[in-house]
């Protein structure tokens, strides 16, 4: 949408010549996230989710230290995630390695994702649908900056 919206912004500025001169004036078309007149049609950009395989993916930065980690690799190959199969667990369910992420290896799920059955740690079923909290991140620019800072 970027190039289009710049064009619209320029057009809008031209239409409201005064606003160019007065920086305090905010042209309505430029407000918000789509930067087109409410009477016009925006043109959405195409986007794609990562196609990188897990072994080649790094780790995404977290917004604050314990924000839920987002997924740095493709997941299309591993879906569907249903009652019969959960391929995320094939790699990330490693109760022996909690807190011990090794470079180039899967991030082991945190201890919060397990229950104790006897001496054994087993997956907490409430955590079974991974994508409720963890999502692949498309390679797109943010729409607006965010000034949140984790401590």
């Amino acid at each position: 949408m970027k190039r289009k919206s710049t064009l619209f912004a320029v057009a809008a500025l031209a239409a409201f010549g005064l606003s160019n001169a007065d920086p305090a004036v905010i042209v309505d078309d430029n407000l918000g996230l789509s930067h087109v007149s409410v009477f016009d049609t925006a043109v959405p950009d195409a986007f794609d989710y990562p196609t990188v395989d897990p072994k080649d993916a790094g780790v995404l930065p977290r917004s604050w230290e314990d924000a839920p980690p987002q997924i740095p690799h493709r997941i299309d190959k591993y879906l569907p995630l249903n009652a019969q199969q959960n391929k995320c667990l094939d790699c990330h369910e490693e109760p022996d390695k909690i807190g011990k992420k090794a470079k180039g290896k899967p991030t082991p799920m945190s201890e919060t994702h397990y229950v104790k059955e006897g001496d054994e740690l087993v997956l907490a079923n409430r955590r079974y649908v991974c994508t409720l909290c963890h999502t692949p991140q498309a390679n797109v620019n943010t729409l607006v900056d965010n000034t949140f800072k984790g401590d």
């Binding site: 407000l31 959405p44 314990d66 987002q70 104790k116 907490a124 649908v129």
Partner: protein, 917 residues
């Protein structure tokens, strides 16, 4: 061993979930939590987003939110959040927060054709007041209105409701919740006589069977879904059914998926009722003791604006059906008439009328809904063999009927946003009541809600154009009198004429009836269907639109005045969730710049008006009510004087900062050092949120809507309480299942069950064709089992507009995306709305994944990228487009038909064509 910062942070999050999952924390880790958080201040909060109402813990440092986590003590979510929920803290910090009022100006003055210029609050209120007085002078109470919200806090909604209904004597307050759960409300009223669910979320852990009707809970109620998933995986006999018009994420955990055609849920419900009777499975004891049978008129229209005057030329054929419908073959069978019959829609003005019928009539009415008829009508995937679909319907009936199975039915927008939304809600109760599987742990029809306080603020406070607090109605003289008593108003202050519902407020703007509107905590110009009409009305008609928001939304773009609003943790608040749980929080941080809480905006505006401005005689065209002169509200000034209310007193002093409310002082020890910018700015020493809440709780006490005191909800030990909350053995005690003697103190001893709601409990008698005995008969204590027929959707695909369009949400974004799209993680998770489509439908139009396509209806068109894979699998003939993305403005395309009873818009079905750009 020393624990580093990362470890104790991990531990602190672990503490958030250990209770849930059973992992005991080591003493060392527990100690680390205390040590590590010493410079953070943790406090409890409530999630800003959906109606689930998850508890969160918020950490602040140096005046900013630095972290949040799921609240381990919250019974709703037990430490877990969904991906949106985890980013509650981050929604406050989008860089384009509105920080000062903006007014459209030209040459230093307000001008509707001008552009936005920053102004002071004083200037903003000056213009707002000037325009309000102009509108009120010209049109009276119906010329001004409010687009309110199920995201208002309870005190906010209460304050605006009171300002309008008591102060301005206008009932033109209606929330976006109208478009979310109004059909649920009308069915609660007609079936039980009182609003809101009997059950609670613990039903998930008590039941064996969960049936989702038009509720993609995996995306829309993710934390409830985590509980359902847990139950499904941990309890062997548990079965989950997903009834939907396309395959979605909820199907992944479901055992049975039923893809049906739009509106045929009405037929499937009647098939189930027929089966229950045919298999001798009616719970005779329950039905005889606790239920009656009822029905109502069929010819009730589709909630469209009648007439051609305001319709676009392309809309006229569909709009014409508002007055006259030709029955198709299926409707004819379903309604026991002949195909091709032309039916004048004679009951559009009184669609909620209903009367008692006999069981025998009921049995006759559902008789046509055989497996053969319903399967052929309802099968929604053209590629599915009919036999397979039939077997699925039978399996569904087996699940409901099996006496060993407990069953919970869940629904949200699929039922509620439905041209027969009230009917289909009633039908769900019909089957649970026939089976006696209602109001018991693990057994019940459970209407979920969409917004965080749709129940708390919109429904309980009654911020609708026809409602008053705690199940009271504007049209009921006794309810008005009670409200006037609690509000300390002279008799006949409240206008007996109900106001405009949400869609009508828009239509009023379009026809010039509404001249002044205030929008708070919602984004109607993006979220209301058939948007091209309302954009034009806002920008081209002579009116004044005020939008209070935290971010510049589509509604802000069409507004004349934008007011910067404080967000959730920048103010004190109370929300009520979908299981009747009331939860409160403290202000955690200050809003940026000059942004202020909505409640402060309401009160500052109230300061500008005097009692005498409104409480003299007012012309109200169309007002006809016993005890009132036609077309007039009487002057109540003399009575006001007798009550000691001065004509020159401001509405702020009379309605809000009055002697009773000022007893609740600020500062208050319950704040525990937290600020209250509203109390500070008002500066007159009272605690507005607490005072208004305490005033409000009077309405429900003794009426089975009892709430505890404000301080109880704020206290650190409490994580919300499910109303009715009564003092038992000196302790505030919540109610888990309503209408069941074992759990609900309002049920008469010995009754077992009692559906004690009082609304619509005196009705005439008749048969399937109409009333035969108009004498009202009391059905006190009973629930009504309604017969409602199948009706075809008003607009269906044809040769030109050849596809169904369904709209809705996605997991990662909230509503119109104004908060979540400003969180980079959530934006990257779903950067834009795409159009999910069957690959064959795409190919037929020369389209493939990621291509740009036009989506066009009779009402408007937008562009979106095509998605043929991903989380949804569309049947041929249906496309799905979410509405969060203002860049894919799908509500320009969607249809503004409503359920004629509830006036809730149907966002789930209209006809479109799709072309390659």
């Amino acid at each position: 061993m020393s624990i580093n910062r990362r470890d104790f942070l991990k531990s602190s999050i672990a503490a958030g979930t250990a209770a849930t999952v059973g992992m005991p924390l080591s003493e060392q880790a527990a100690a680390a939590i205390k040590a590590g958080e010493k410079d953070w201040q943790w406090d409890k909060g409530v999630c800003r987003f959906c109606g689930t109402g998850c508890g969160i813990m918020i950490a602040t440092k140096n005046g900013r939110v630095v972290a949040t986590k799921g609240d381990p003590d919250a019974p709703v979510n037990r430490g877990l959040n969904c991906v949106k929920g985890y980013f509650n803290g981050k929604i406050l910090y989008g860089k384009d927060r509105l920080t000062q009022p903006l007014l459209r100006m030209k040459d230093g003055k307000f001008n509707k054709k001008g552009q936005f210029v920053p102004v002071s609050w004083e200037q903003a209120f000056d213009e707002m007041e000037r325009q309000f007085r102009k509108a009120y002078a010209e049109k009276g109470p119906s010329g001004v209105g409010v687009f309110g919200s199920g995201q208002w806090t309870i005190p906010e909604g209460y304050a605006m409701n009171k300002l309008f209904k008591a102060g301005f004597r206008s009932n033109n307050v209606d929330p976006n919740a109208r478009n979310c759960m109004a059909s649920a409300v009308t069915a609660f009223y007609s079936v039980f006589g009182t609003d809101e669910p009997a059950g609670n979320y613990d039903d998930v852990e008590y039941t064996d069977t969960m049936v989702l009707w038009g509720a993609n809970m995996a995306e829309m109620h993710p934390i409830l879904w985590s509980r359902i998933t847990n139950r499904r995986l941990s309890h062997k006999p548990c079965r989950v059914v997903n009834l939907t018009t396309y395959r979605n994420m909820s199907s992944d955990i479901a055992d049975l998926e039923i893809i049906f055609k739009p509106n045929t849920d009405l037929a499937i419900q009647n098939y189930l009722a027929r089966e229950i009777i045919a298999r001798n499975a009616v719970n005779q004891d329950f039905v005889n003791k606790h239920c009656v049978f009822a029905t109502g008129p069929y010819d009730i229209g589709y909630g469209l604006r009648p007439g051609e005057k305001y319709a676009f030329p392309a809309e006229r054929d569909v709009v014409a059906k508002e007055t006259r419908v030709t029955l198709d073959r299926n409707e004819a069978i379903a309604q026991r008439r002949k195909a091709g019959d032309v039916v004048d829609q004679k009951n559009t003005a009184n669609p909620a009328a209903h009367w008692l019928i006999t069981f025998e009539d009921f049995r006759k009415a559902v008789e046509p809904y055989t497996l053969d008829f319903v399967a052929e009508l309802a099968k929604g995937d053209i590629d599915e063999p009919l036999d397979k679909f039939k077997a699925k319907l039978q399996q569904l009936a087996d699940y409901y009927i099996d006496p060993k199975r407990k069953v919970v039915s869940f629904w949200t927008m699929g039922f509620n946003q439905h041209q027969r939304g009230t009917w289909v809600n009633e039908q769900c109760y019909m089957n649970h009541l026939l089976l006696g599987k209602q109001s018991q742990p693990g057994n019940g029809a459970f209407s979920l809600t969409g917004q965080p306080s749709a129940c708390g603020t919109a429904r309980e406070v009654g911020t609708f154009s026809h409602r008053l607090p705690a199940d009271r109605l504007v049209a009921n003289p006794q309810h008005r009198a009670e409200t006037e008593k609690y509000w300390n108003l002279p008799a006949k202050t409240i206008n007996p004429k109900i106001g405009s519902f949400y869609a009508k407020l828009m239509r009023d703007l379009e026809d010039g009836g509404l001249k002044w509107a205030w929008v708070q905590v919602n984004n109607p110009w993006q979220s209301h269907p058939n948007a091209n009409h309302w954009i034009k009305a806002a920008r081209e008609m002579d009116n004044f639109i005020v939008v209070s928001d935290a971010y510049p939304t589509i509604s802000a773009k069409v507004a004349d005045l934008i007011l910067p609003a404080a967000m959730i943790f920048e103010k004190w608040g109370v929300y009520g969730n979908a299981e009747r749980r009331t939860q409160a929080w403290r202000q955690q941080v200050y809003a940026p710049g000059q942004a202020r809480a909505d409640i402060w905006q309401v009160m500052e505006f109230a300061k500008r008006f005097k009692v005498k401005d409104f409480w003299g005689e007012q012309k109200v065209p169309g007002l006809k009510e016993a005890g009132f002169e036609d077309g007039k509200l009487p002057s109540v000034m003399d009575d006001a004087a007798k009550m000691g209310i001065s004509a020159d007193a401001s509405l702020y002093e009379v309605l809000f900062a009055n002697a009773a409310n000022k007893k609740h002082r600020w500062p208050d020890a319950i704040a525990k050092g937290h600020p209250n910018h509203v109390a500070d700015l008002l500066g007159d020493g009272w605690f507005p949120e607490k005072a208004l809440f305490q005033e409000y709780v009077q309405f429900g006490r003794g009426k089975a809507k009892d709430l505890a005191d404000f301080d109880v909800y704020i206290s650190d030990e409490v994580r919300g309480l499910k109303w009715p909350v009564l003092v038992k053995n000196g302790k505030w005690t919540e109610t888990s299942w309503r209408f069941n003697e074992q759990y609900d103190p309002y049920v008469t001893k010995g009754a077992g069950f009692e559906f004690y709601g009082k609304l619509m409990k005196s009705i005439p008698s008749g048969n399937l064709d109409g009333v035969t005995d108009p004498t009202p008969k009391s059905v006190a204590g009973k629930a009504k089992i309604f017969y409602r027929p199948y009706a075809a959707p008003v607009e269906q695909p044809d040769g030109n507009y050849d596809l169904w369009l369904c709209t809705g949400r996605v997991l990662e974004h909230w509503h119109t995306g104004t908060m979540t799209r400003r969180v980079p993680e959530l934006h990257r998770a779903v950067p834009a709305a795409v159009m999910w489509m069957h690959p064959a439908d795409a190919q037929k139009r020369g389209l493939k994944r990621n291509d740009l396509a036009w989506i066009e209806s009779r009402r408007g068109k937008v562009q979106a990228r095509v998605e043929t894979g991903g989380r949804n699998t569309m049947p041929k003939g249906t496309v799905y487009v979410p509405f969060f993305d203002e860049g894919v403005f799908i509500n320009k395309v969607a249809l503004d038909s409503t359920c004629p009873i509830s006036k809730e818009s149907d966002f789930k079905k209209c006809a479109v064509k799709v072309m390659k750009v």
